[in-house]
């Protein structure tokens, strides 16, 4: 059963403000489609600026799409606004990257966590809400006795647990997690990843997991979509994408993973800095070692096997 389905998402941002006349519009997200099934984790990976966070925000209807549809469960929410949209909001919730910036420093923990309840279950009494907050905090591995404290009294890992509790309290089916562990120490990161796994098993949650860290993604994702310059360039099961990448960009991302032992060291030539993308054809061609002439005419669409490349990597058994 699909809990989140987006198709043909498009979003352009105009080149900003007072320089509008000289800038050109930038495609942030270009023809992105995916389906998220109940209980599974789909990871969207890519570098900064690839459009992965924008995609998550579009799927959450936090940003307005230029084109395309967003379905939460059975409901097409693409055009809903205001109250009608809010009624469906409990379906999908978000956890942010920075546990220091995403909690209001002047609100006590229970106030932050209960906010969603006030909107989605307005009939609850304040005692009932407090009880529910306590329950949810415990579910996220926090001692409920801390709910009258302020965010600064908690560590980064605990704050991230609070962020997860805030999202879970309205009992969503989908959590969009935007780099939920990249601001944390490895030891704390492991705790949060374990917690997310446990919650998924216990509640049947689906995760839309945004990350640039492929080691983390390998650990948590069932399926992976690799984004580059606003498009999905490869999509498939995590095992398949990690073991047999087709797109040269996926390969490059995998090669950029940290090594695990000093004897895996390879002397890399400190190459020239390229962060270029092409405006026509395959956006990756300026950086691609396999680019040929026809790449500049490629339409960038995913093929049936789930990758967008005219000269894919050959599978080595």
């Amino acid at each position: 059963m699909s809990v989140l389905k987006v198709s043909g998402l498009n979003k352009t941002f105009s080149a900003g403000g007072m320089f509008r006349s000289i800038g050109k519009d930038k495609w942030a997200v270009n023809d992105v489609s995916f389906t998220l099934q109940a209980g599974e984790t789909l990871a969207i990976v890519g570098e900064s600026g690839s459009g992965k966070s924008t995609t998550a925000r579009l799927a959450m209807r936090l940003l307005k799409t230029d084109a395309g549809t967003v379905c939460w469960g059975e409901h097409d929410v693409s055009t809903l606004v205001g109250k009608a949209l809010r009624e469906h909001r409990s379906h999908i919730q978000m956890v942010f990257q920075d546990p220091f910036a995403s909690l209001n420093p002047r609100m006590k923990i229970w106030q932050t966590v209960e906010e969603g309840l006030r909107v989605h279950q307005p009939d609850l009494s304040s005692a009932q809400r407090r009880e529910k907050v306590a329950e949810t905090l415990q579910l996220c591995g926090l001692d409920a006795s801390g709910m009258d404290r302020y965010p600064h009294q908690f560590s980064g890992g605990q704050r991230q647990r609070i962020g997860i509790a805030r999202a879970l309290i309205v009992e969503p089916k989908v959590l969009a997690l935007d780099e939920p562990v990249s601001a944390l120490d490895v030891s704390v990161q492991a705790q949060i990843l374990n917690l997310l796994k446990e919650l998924q098993t216990a509640k049947g949650l689906a995760y839309l997991f945004i990350s640039h860290d492929l080691s983390v993604v390998r650990h948590i994702a069932d399926r992976v979509a690799v984004m580059f310059a606003g498009r999905i360039v490869e999509q498939g099961s995590a095992a398949e994408v990690f073991e047999h990448p087709h797109h040269p960009y996926t390969r490059a991302l995998l090669d950029a993973r940290p090594i695990t032992h000093p004897n895996e060291r390879q002397m890399l030539a400190p190459n020239e800095a390229t962060e270029a993308t092409a405006d026509f054809g395959c956006a990756y061609q300026p950086r691609c070692p396999y680019a040929k002439n026809d790449c500049s005419k490629f339409d960038g669409a995913l093929n049936a096997q789930g990758f967008a490349c005219l000269h894919p990597l050959v599978r080595h058994e």
Binding site: E47, S48, G49, S155, G156, D185, V186, S187, V188, Q189, A190, Q191, L193, N194, K197, H212, D213, L214, S215, V216, R218, H219, A252, L253, D255, A256, R257, P258, I259, T260, H261, P262, N263, E264, R265, M267, L268, A269, P270, N271, E272, A273, E275
Partner: protein, 326 residues
């Protein structure tokens, strides 16, 4: 050589001076890379900053020990010598490329300022040197970059500028505090290659402060693992990876997702790093340690209570060495 000898630092918490780094010793030699590894709050950045005597106006004080640059105490330097030392002999690359550059000055003016402060050069010579430095860090269009403001550059590009700037006055030592943490994975490897390349070319001593064992594996010759204000284990990088001795080192290495089995829960370290002022008597890690025994909490444990050549650990119960598990 840069040597930290039995250094203790105190910080001010709610008006009280509390020990945050305790009897710490490190040696960094020219041409080698030393990794200082540990979780947030264990005192590694504090240690790194104390080498440049930063943070003193924020209440960080040396309570014991010394830091020696080629035998001369940094704490006995005059203000003038200190100013020349900072950036001239020892420079620093900070974690946040977004905040470490001044947004209202061009890249060129910020690099040439450092050059002219330390080297006797005319404006023109300094600009030529800045151009060369930027080329060294892989920026082909260096002349253009010099005229730009930091806001026009991406994180990876700014980090390249910061590395160029750290090299500007030809220092002997560089302290890099989480130099790749704020960057994309795809950019990280290039910045690592760049740092190592510059380090080798100039025979620099590099102190790398990080929480990431992947980065240590990539870059370091020597490693010192810090926990709650102390070095708990140190030694050559291959030794540390092949035979991690201290339970904390093992735990920290074990919770990385890249070494874990897919589908299994990640190993975790229960509890939290104790805050300065709340360190237990005896071994600081004992409360979280799966191997702890009664004697661990009785009295302070010496830094080299376990020793195997250059490899030392602050642990009374190091398990017998396992065979190479690489």
């Amino acid at each position: 050589m840069l040597e930290i000898r039995d250094l203790s630092l105190s910080v001010t918490i709610e008006g009280n001076a509390v020990e945050a780094v305790s009897m710490l010793s490190l040696k960094l030699e020219a041409g080698s890379v030393l990794g200082l590894v540990g979780e947030s709050g264990c005192g590694k950045s504090l240690t790194a900053q104390s080498i440049l005597r930063l943070g003193e106006h924020q209440g960080v004080k040396k309570s014991d020990g010394d830091i020696l640059l080629d035998g001369d105490s940094l704490f006995e330097m005059s203000d003038e010598t200190l100013r020349r030392m900072r950036g001239g002999r020892i420079s620093m690359v900070f974690q946040e490329p977004m905040t470490a550059l001044n947004p209202v000055f061009t890249i060129g003016s910020q690099i040439t300022e450092v050059i002219r402060l330390h080297l006797d050069m005319s404006k023109r010579e300094a600009t030529a040197r800045a151009t060369e430095l930027l080329r060294d860090v892989g920026m082909e269009n260096a002349e253009q970059v010099l005229k730009q403001y930091p806001g026009a550059l991406s994180g990876g590009m700014r980090q390249r500028v910061l590395i160029a700037m750290a090299m500007a006055a030809d220092p002997d030592f560089i302290i890099a505090d989480e130099p790749t943490t704020a960057l994309d994975v795809s950019v990280q490897k290039r910045i690592i290659a760049l740092l190592l390349n510059s380090q080798k070319k100039r025979n620099l001593g590099l102190l790398l402060v990080t929480h990431d064992f992947g980065l240590v594996a990539e870059m370091c010759d020597e490693v010192a693992v810090m926990y709650a204000g102390q070095v708990v284990e140190s030694g050559p990088v291959a030794e540390i990876f092949n035979h991690p001795a201290h339970p904390y080192t093992r735990a920290l290495m074990g919770c990385r997702p890249e070494v874990s089995e897919v589908g299994q829960a990640l190993p975790v370290i229960g509890g939290q790093v104790p805050q300065p002022g709340q360190w237990p008597q005896g071994c600081h890690f004992a409360k979280r340690c799966p191997m702890a025994e009664n004697d661990c909490q009785q009295s302070a444990v010496a830094a080299d209570v376990w020793r195997h050549g250059d490899h030392i650990a602050r642990c009374l119960h190091v398990a017998p060495l396992q065979e190479d598990n690489s």
